[in-house]
């Protein structure tokens, strides 16, 4: 006769049985236990009821991907497909490349650029811009060092924002300006910078002089604006580009006491944190984060933007 399950076995096998995770032999063993002791049946039932309840309360079908986000991702997929078509490759996509049949779900690190997938045509187009971006970053590092040695006052260098946050700004700037990621809810912002005031006031919650955000006098044209999760609630990300292809990213957010900044005193995070020339400053009740491809341009843009908050 089958011996009763110990606590440890019951703990392991009964929930797994309830979840349909056991093999035939293990299932039979649990069924015998359920026949021997009705409490075991109740235990299985409890586990099943709990799973159903969790699925019901957390799997709210009303939670759906927002339409704007869905459109962005669908456009991303269509663009990738178009590029593959334009590449005119008739090559078949290698499905994993190995014959091990391991079925590993994990995208492997060190993705091989010589792989014959047509997707590489998509990846390949980023190689050149990334190389340019890397070059610009190196130029930026040199520029920053020169700038630091040439200016002794006016900028503080304390660790006011974390390295990880600075890195996120740098990454976000690169992703958005290279077109890998679009600012969120961009459709809610005007295409003309002269009409940006109202949208900014609505999203940032502060009155701004939009004219001061116009950097065309510095050769930088407004490209797009949108909501951004960096650095936190209700931040707006504005992107500019000049004729040479250099870009600037400006984040504007209502000031909530963090980071601890003295009004009007810009802060330059170490560039090995952000990977890009970056300045942060606070004016009145707003905080501004400016990231660019060239430190000189960041330095020129900052005084102009400072005026934006002085309404």
């Amino acid at each position: 006769m089958e011996r009763p399950m110990k606590s440890q076995e019951a703990r392991k096998f009964l929930p797994a049985f309830a979840d349909g995770e056991l093999d035939v032999e293990q299932n039979l063993r649990v069924l015998e236990q359920m026949a021997m002791d009705p409490v075991n049946t109740k235990r299985v039932l409890h586990q099943q009821q709990l799973r159903q309840a969790c699925g019901r309360v957390m799997g709210d079908p009303a939670v759906k991907c927002p339409v704007a986000l869905r459109q962005q991702i669908e456009e991303m997929a269509e663009a990738a497909l178009r590029e593959e078509g334009e590449a005119g490759n008739g090559e078949s996509r290698s499905n994993g490349g190995d014959s091990s049949g391991s079925g590993d779900l994990t995208p492997k690190p060190g993705y091989d650029d010589r792989h014959d997938s047509p997707v590489l045509a998509t990846i390949g187009r980023w190689v050149a811009p990334l190389a340019v971006a890397a070059l610009l970053a190196i130029v930026g590092v040199v520029g920053l060092n020169v700038f630091r040695s040439a200016t002794s006052g006016g900028y503080t260098a304390d660790g006011l924002i974390s390295a990880s946050l600075a890195e996120r700004f740098g990454d976000r700037h690169a992703s958005c300006t290279l077109g890998e990621i679009a600012p969120y809810k961009a459709d809610l912002f005007p295409t003309d910078i002269d009409q940006l005031d109202e949208s900014l006031a609505q999203h940032v919650g502060q009155e701004l002089d939009g004219a001061a955000l116009d950097l065309s006098s510095l050769g930088y044209d407004y490209q797009v604006a949108g909501v951004c999760p960096i650095p936190g609630d209700n931040a707006v990300h504005v992107i500019y580009e000049n004729e040479g292809g250099n870009t600037l990213s400006l984040w504007i957010k209502a000031y909530n006491g963090k980071p601890t900044l003295d009004p009007g005193v810009p802060y330059i995070p170490p560039q090995d944190h952000s990977g890009r020339p970056m300045m942060v400053w606070r004016e009145a009740d707003m905080v501004f984060y400016l990231v660019g491809d060239a430190m000189d341009d960041v330095k020129k843009a900052q005084p102009a933007i400072r005026l934006a908050s002085r309404v």
Partner: protein, 181 residues
């Protein structure tokens, strides 16, 4: 599978991926950002995808999970002493069989919100396992692959998560005058 078919499958999972991102970030904008990044990476790496029983969903969840932890600089949690206690059967309050009382006796209209809060209050590593299993319907093995942990770790985290929830529901049952065995 060709690229178009892969993308069709991937796009069909957008609601699930977004829902999971919402559970992880608790913020619609951050969730949207995470989902966008997940799909970007998925489209780039689709050559590595192999269609399995559950389709593209676990694969997308794995990318989402990795993005989330990378983005928020959170170290992947290693199995802890608590997990080991469960797995290695050290006698403790955890070393007891599953509860046997009938949840159907509960007044769910009152319980749903409190259960949701109880799930939200679970430690993150328990909550994620629970959500992938209960909401997204993944098997233990698939949850283990998504999270990059051992199967036994999934089982122990899930057991612990269920035990915590059962304890909280038992308190609610007591409030409703239901006797819990």
């Amino acid at each position: 599978m060709d690229s178009a078919a892969f993308r069709e499958l991937a796009l069909a999972e957008m609601d699930s991926v977004y829902r999971m991102a919402m559970h992880l970030t608790h913020h619609p904008d951050e969730a949207a950002d995470l989902v966008q990044e997940t799909y970007l990476k998925a489209f780039k790496a689709e050559g590595r995808f192999e269609l399995r029983d559950k389709g593209v969903r676990p694969w997308l969840f794995k990318i989402l999970h990795n993005n989330f932890y990378t983005r928020y600089q959170k170290k992947k949690r290693e199995p802890t002493i608590a997990d080991d206690l469960i797995q290695d059967s050290v006698p403790s309050e955890l070393d007891s069989p599953p509860p046997a009382w009938d949840l159907e006796h509960l007044d769910w209209e009152q319980v749903d919100d409190r259960l949701k809060h109880a799930i939200d209050d679970l430690p993150e590593h328990y909550r994620e396992v629970l959500l992938l299993w209960a909401v997204e319907g993944l098997k233990y093995r698939e949850v283990a692959e998504v999270l990059g942990v051992a199967l036994g770790t999934v089982m122990s985290r899930l057991y612990r998560a269920r035990s915590i929830l059962s304890e909280k529901l038992a308190d609610l049952a007591a409030e409703q005058g239901i006797t819990v065995a």
